[in-house]
Amino acid sequence: MFNPEIFFQVLVNGLLMGAVYGIAAVGLSLIWGVLGVVNLAHGSFIILAAYIAYVFFSAAGAPPILTSPVAVAIGFAVGYLLYKGVGRRVVSLDPSTSLLFFFGLSLLLSNSILNIWGPDVRGIPWLIQSLELGGTRIPLARLIALVSTIISFLLLYTLLQRTYYGKAIRAVVANRVGAASVGIDVDNVFAISMGIALGITFFSGTMISLVNPFTPSSGDGYLMYSFASVVLGGVGNIIGTLLAGIFMGLVESLVGVYFTQSISPAVAFIILVIVIMVRYRGGR
């Protein structure tokens, strides 16, 4: 039985969650596009940022929206230093070995989180009220997450379009050798992109802490969704990645209501395979 009211509610929920999934995938897209490596620790970084927001909230009562600039700064520092420390070596490895490196990092991070904060489900009960618009309920926290996601995405986009480093990053995505030959310091661009990418990833983690409960192992799910979004939207294409994330949110919401919530990972997987087959002709 089709109920338009429920359908509309499902669309709104999908859009609200999708925006967060989209921004969560942008960092993965950027690192993959610029450095050519797949950051398997992406999900663990997202959850680490969610726990940072949790600490600020439980210790000082600071809502995630205020913590997010701090998280961006921490993320940038972590990314920049990670590249300066071992990044050059990791980028030179063959793809399967660099995947394994990031998997090691992911194990280290998610188990450190587990040891520090324990296995319990955490959440941030801030602004749990909802708005009601013509029969559709909009949770305030998710609405705020949507607005801050849009603002931060526009900031990132301007950064990449207008500033010198933004242009240098796009040049490296387009053609690494060409960029180096016109005098761009590719190594430095790598370090800064890694910083920006983890900055935005940490931002998305604070947004996730606002909209969903999380555990130390929640990162795996976000990693899969981010992969699907990046592949669907295009590696290194941040607008495409954001839109693909919104699409994933809509699909998850529809599947959750019309089938069952528990099969949504299988749906993400099927979308991923279809997209890779059709769009990349086998990833060549």
């Binding site: 090691g104 992969f227 990833g283």
Partner: protein
């Protein structure tokens, strides 16, 4: 003697040593010792079976446990249905895993590089959620089989031992035959291999089906030993441990899986005892360090120190 042959020789010696030592525990009758060695043989078997696809062709496979779990469920389901001795269904586990690997492998093996790795990362999870939504498989509770046969630790040990011995022969076969060389040419340069007349699509599908069928057998044997098939079989941590062991040891070689699985098993065991909470943190750091220091795996050290390994091989 050139380094590659030395490595093969060291590998042969170590496997013969291992298979002789591993024959001892059942004679002692010490159940704890048998169980400990069984776990090691199981890990080694998984690494050796993954070697066929990831080691030889270079296709990084995060979905190996999908077939391991399918094998476990095949054996457990058929046992609960027919109430016959579960060992009868090990061939069925191999056939089911092989058939599904054929169907799934045909589309996904067209995908290359990191895209393939990520696709397979979703595969295990996708199979798991499908299984826990099927009523016949008892949802997320799984299928216990203890009531249908008399469990015997010795026979489960012998079964895993035989599997390792079979995988050893299969690996030797791949190291020496045209089929193995075809797979290695795919790893080195797939387009070049294709243009030289290698039917790459057929060869990698064959390797994938072989590798998955072996995983199905190991899964089936594990279900018998644990007297239980459950969604925990689809463990991404197990898959990555197997993958990490293979890459640490060195893929596409005979020696690599043994070195990698041995190192992984004994290190993670020692860490687990000493640091029950932090062992995965330390293990993550070890994986990072190994990939940075020895990106081609430990067994590649032979190329770096040919003299020392020459002496080992001659001794």
């Amino acid at each position: 003697m050139e380094a590659g042959k030395q490595r093969l020789k060291i590998g042969l010696i170590l496997y013969v040593l291992l298979l002789s030592i591993a024959a001892l525990p059942p004679l002692t009758g010490n159940t704890a010792l048998i169980a400990y060695f069984w776990s090691f043989l199981q890990m080694l078997a998984l690494v050796m079976s993954l070697n066929f696809i990831t080691g030889f062709t270079g296709y990084v496979n995060f979905g190996h446990i999908a077939y391991y779990g399918i094998g476990a469920y095949t054996v457990a389901y058929l046992t609960t249905m027919t109430r016959v001795d579960p060992y009868v269904f090990i061939p069925a586990a191999a056939i089911t895993s092989a058939a599904l690997a054929y169907l799934i492998g045909r589309p996904i093996l067209r995908i290359r590089g990191p895209y393939f790795a990520i696709t397979t990362l979703g595969l295990g999870e996708a199979v798991r959620v499908i299984i826990v939504n099927i009523p016949a498989f008892n949802y997320s509770e799984g299928l216990p089989i203890a009531a249908y046969f008399t469990y015997n630790v010795i026979s489960s040990y012998i079964a895993m031992y035989t599997t390792v011995a079979t995988l050893f022969i299969l690996t030797l076969y791949l190291r020496r035959t045209r089929f193995g060389y075809m797979l290695e040419s795919i790893r080195e340069d797939e387009d070049a291999a294709e243009s030289m007349g290698v039917n790459t699509a057929k060869a990698k599908l064959a390797a994938y089906v072989l590798s998955s069928a072996c995983a199905g057998v190991i899964g089936g044997l594990t279900a018998i030993t644990h007297v239980y098939a459950h969604p925990g079989f689809f463990s991404i941590t197990l898959n990555v441990s197997v993958l990490a062991s293979l890459l640490m040891g060195g893929g596409g070689t005979l020696l690599g899986p043994l070195v990698g699985a041995g190192l992984f098993f004994f290190i993670s065991d020692a860490l687990l005892i000493r640091f029950p909470y932090l062992h995965l943190v330390i293990f993550g750091a070890v994986v990072m360090a190994v990939t940075l220091a020895l990106p081609r795996g430990l067994s590649h050290l032979i190329y770096r120190y040919p003299k020392i390994s020459g002496k080992i091989a001659d001794a």
